[in-house]
């Protein structure tokens, strides 16, 4: 049996914690399982050189750096939760990258290129946002082949 390679998109909500719990309960005894926590952030917009906002961007860069540092610490905490639950250090890593496309496309690309066999998604109860942004679940389900997709509710 192929060792499971698990991709876990993580966005610091209580629903993501449920997905994390699911991974712990389901895979903690599998010593060959590999888990990647995954987070993408929106980079600052590119501005014209003449833009007056450009002069103020130093402040935004500082804010973004602080925010990213907090998020990376959060990912590290999630990784430590996995380690405390019995996974070894070489079983768990995380990917922290700049978002260049939609969240769904980033997940699809990472899952395909990294040859992940399991994708664990969380589900937020809100429905209004889904009217305006396309459902990540639907797009991922339609695009990924040979990947077990689990949705923790």
């Amino acid at each position: 049996m192929v060792a499971p390679r698990i991709l876990l998109p993580y966005n610091f909500t209580i629903y993501d914690e449920k997905a994390l719990d699911f991974v712990i309960k389901t895979f903690a005894n599998q010593k060959d399982a590999k888990i990647t926590l995954f987070y993408t952030y929106t980079p600052l917009p590119e501005l014209d050189m003449e833009s007056p906002v450009l002069k103020q961007m130093k402040g935004a860069v500082r804010s973004l750096s602080k925010e990213l540092s907090e998020k990376e610490t959060g990912l590290e905490s999630a990784r430590e939760s996995l380690l405390r639950s019995g996974f070894s250090g070489d079983q768990v890593d995380y990917t922290f990258k700049k978002r260049m496309k939609s969240i769904a496309d980033e997940i699809i690309e990472t899952a395909s290129q990294g040859h992940y066999t399991v994708l664990v998604l969380s589900r937020q109860p809100g429905k209004a946002t889904r009217l305006f942004t396309r459902s990540v679940h639907n797009r991922v389900l339609a695009a990924l082949k040979n990947v077990t997709i689990c949705i923790a509710t």
């Binding site: 906002v53 804010s63 907090e70 305006f132 942004t133």
Partner: protein
Amino acid sequence: MSSEVKITIETFKTVTKAIAQSDNLDIMANHLAQLLVTALDIKGCAIFVQDPDIKELEILASFGLSPKYLSKGPLLADMSLAANLKGEPVIVADVSKDKNIQYPEEARKEGIAAILSVPIVFLNEVLGALRLYHYETWQISEQDLDSLHLLAEHVGLVMTYTRLLNAIQSITEVINLALPTDLLPGLKKG
């Protein structure tokens, strides 16, 4: 406390250009939040979508706010700066002296001293709210408030456009699944 004009016409052009350049609502909203925090030199910004049935606000994008503050609990539109429901902006110049906010203690812990909430409206329907959070008490200028109103209207237009586009894309996907020919190739890309 300051009421100087921060959103000049040049700043407004930069922000609207950033909105127009994004083809993804999520990225557009994040860029808008980042630019407003930068231009106004404030603590943070969040853009919310309102659930029309239960009148709850769901977060679409944010910048400068901690995950802990963002997950403080459900935001009910009629308890959190409720005048937005009537399409009116709400200015909480000093969080410690105002009863209009739902989570004052969490705001204080986050280092928020003032909040401005501008409704996102399209065709008299409140779609959400653009919220700005300042680390000090705030007397926003009339001109900046007008600029934010216009920006919120732009966001409302973009949201309506993406809602329609999503509906068309979903219909196209169903048609493409049912039929062997690609009827609307231009709409395939999500």
